[in-house]
């Protein structure tokens, strides 16, 4: 036995990063989390704080001006922001989701052009795959891109686009050859300022209310052909490859939200007195906390293992990404519901943060593939 056994634990640098992000999140993001939720407004304070400390898009490689953080470090940033504010954690998470297609499949020119402003904090990056009639069956999308000389002309509607309207850049999947179904889909970078791009009204949501979710409309949007990400017809493959990596970041969000709820409940049960003693002294309450912590830690271990696989691009990443996302989000739902239960009537009010965490947790079971779709993915990729 020895303290220098380095398997199954993050490195010292990863622990320092957690410490740094936690301090920042508690000081600069947590104080606004309730208001951001209540008012359904974009967490500008969080964006400013993350940008000022170079934590808004840590995954961008150093070659393009980024911090060059590995997948586990990125998970830790998202996790610690989510611990205090689920809406704010979508800033680093969606910046990775939106830009990863460019990082994975884009030309050097595209990378240089779009990753620099993202790394500097001058622009955010969103991901536009889903449509009103193409959710789980994303390949059934209708958005069309038609070639016109050195340009492509896009028409269609994307729905459920996170940070739509706030982001400058969008990775947009569109059909370039309707005959070929998923192999006839290509990916493009579209800019907010491109003529013909507009946004729908913000969705009225159950949770993550601070993160705008809107439709994006493309009305004869004419973009240069070099905005295509990778080769024609590879867009769907890029989109799926992206999700293999970014499902791990949704798992990170889930464990962060759950940790926030568990931490709050842990403090509360020691303060709250009934029958002459803190409710933490009752075994029924202790068992609940033990279960919450056990499930959360299991989810965290799976998520970190998946993050390491994401960084190494291991062959079993698809299974691990889906498993981490599915398990962690189910755990986040259970843990946040139990946190509300532990706070009783107070937990049910908006004066305490756990009901917000419970509402925020729900989306992690739905987006980047519902947990039913995750099970399909896992079943097809059993280890």
């Amino acid at each position: 036995m020895g303290k220098d056994f380095d398997l199954y634990r993050p490195s010292e640098e990863h622990d320092m990063l957690r410490e740094s992000v936690r301090a920042l999140a508690e000081a600069k993001i947590a104080p606004f989390a309730a208001a951001v939720d209540e008012e359904g407004r974009f967490p500008q304070e969080a964006l400013d704080a993350l940008v000022a400390n170079d934590l808004h898009a840590v995954h961008v490689p150093e070659a393009y001006g980024g911090a060059g953080a590995d997948a586990l470090a990125t998970v830790i940033v998202i996790e610690e922001v989510a611990r205090v504010c689920g809406s704010s954690s979508l800033i680093p998470a969606v910046n990775k989701l939106g830009s990863l297609p460019v990082i994975l499949s884009g030309s050097e020119e595209l990378k240089a052009k779009y990753l620099g402003p993202l790394a500097k904090g001058d622009a955010m990056f969103s991901y536009a795959l889903s449509e009103p009639d193409a959710g789980s069956d994303a390949a059934g999308m209708k958005t069309r891109a038609v070639r016109d000389g050195d340009f492509w002309i896009l028409n269609g509607v994307k729905r459920w686009i996170t940070n739509a309207g706030e982001s400058e850049y969008y990775t947009v999947m569109a059909v370039t050859d309707p005959e070929k179904r998923s192999k006839g889909i290509s990916a493009f970078v579209v800019e907010k300022s491109d003529e013909g791009v507009s946004f729908g009204a913000p969705e009225k949501k159950l949770g993550i209310k601070g993160s705008p979710t809107r439709e994006v409309y493309f009305d004869n949007v004419r973009i240069p052909a070099d905005r295509m990400i990778g080769a024609e017809g590879t867009g769907f493959a890029t989109a799926m490859k992206t999700l293999d990596h970014t499902r791990v970041t949704i798992a990170a969000q889930a464990i962060g939200i759950a940790q926030g709820a568990l931490d709050y409940a842990k403090g509360y049960v020691k303060e709250r007195k009934q029958f002459g003693k803190p409710i933490a002294d009752f075994q029924g309450v202790q068992f609940m906390l033990a279960d919450m912590a056990m499930k959360l830690e299991a989810a965290r271990q799976l998520t970190y293992a998946a993050a390491a696989k994401s960084e190494r691009v291991d062959g079993d990443l698809t299974f691990f990404g889906a498993a981490a996302k599915c398990f962690a989000s189910d755990v986040a739902m259970e843990v946040t519901i139990d946190a509300v239960q532990l706070l009783g009537g107070y937990g049910y009010t908006r004066d305490y943060p756990v009901e917000r965490m419970m509402r925020d947790a729900k989306i992690t079971q739905i987006y980047e593939g519902t947990n039913q779709v995750q099970r399909i993915v896992m079943a097809r990729n059993l280890p």
């Binding site: 640098e13 320092m16 990063l17 740094s20 301090a23 920042l24 400390n53 934590l55 060059g68 940033v77």
Partner: protein, 261 residues
Amino acid sequence: MTLKIAVCVKYVPDATGDRGFADDLTTDREAVDGLLSELDEYAVEQALRISEESDDAEVTVVTVGPDDAKDALRKALSMGADKAVHVNDEDIHGSDVIATSAILAKALEKTGFDLVVCGMASTDGTMGVLPALLAERLNVPQVTLLSELSVEGELVKGRRDGDSATELLEAPLPAVVSVTDQSGEARYPSFKGIMAAKKKPVEELDLDDLDIDADEVGLAGSWTLVDAVAARPARTQGTIVTDEGDGGKQLAAFLATQKFI
């Protein structure tokens, strides 16, 4: 010429932990996690800002402390300091502020400096006299408790906010300054900073390296000796003044018995 800025930092027990004393009545470092004294983060921040403003500057963080004090140096390096000096020797254990200032002064002379930046006090001992002791030992001017700090040419300038007046102060370099928690929020280590810190040099020095005899420092060489410690008594219930027309008088009488007025 490189502007050499040295920042004195201290590794202290986490003030939010349950702090206590060891058997020899020195700080118990086993029971509570340690960290870079929060008030020293302001000093690191000011040094980094001056360094960023300057064409050619180098920030060295200096600490006197046990093995784990490297964590405080690591934090300062991850914030952006260029290198670190760690004075570590078993014989230093138990040094009071007088002895510590002697060690730090020798370390600073060895490292070289144009400007020494300190926090306003440590968050554990909270004496706040170290900057003055250092200046005396180094025989340089001291400009303490500054809420603003800048270096202009051969001068260090600063602003000290007092209760009744604000003083604008300056001194020729080399000098020792201390900065308050009003001087500007300390930055959070970024991922890049954390990764870079790993590769930055940390010079380890012991008492021999600094030509200090063991009996000049530590428990033996300290001017102050802790005889006993006692926990602060639990707060008792306050006195409630019931106002029956003479509430003001009662209140004044109470304050007078407590020697507040």
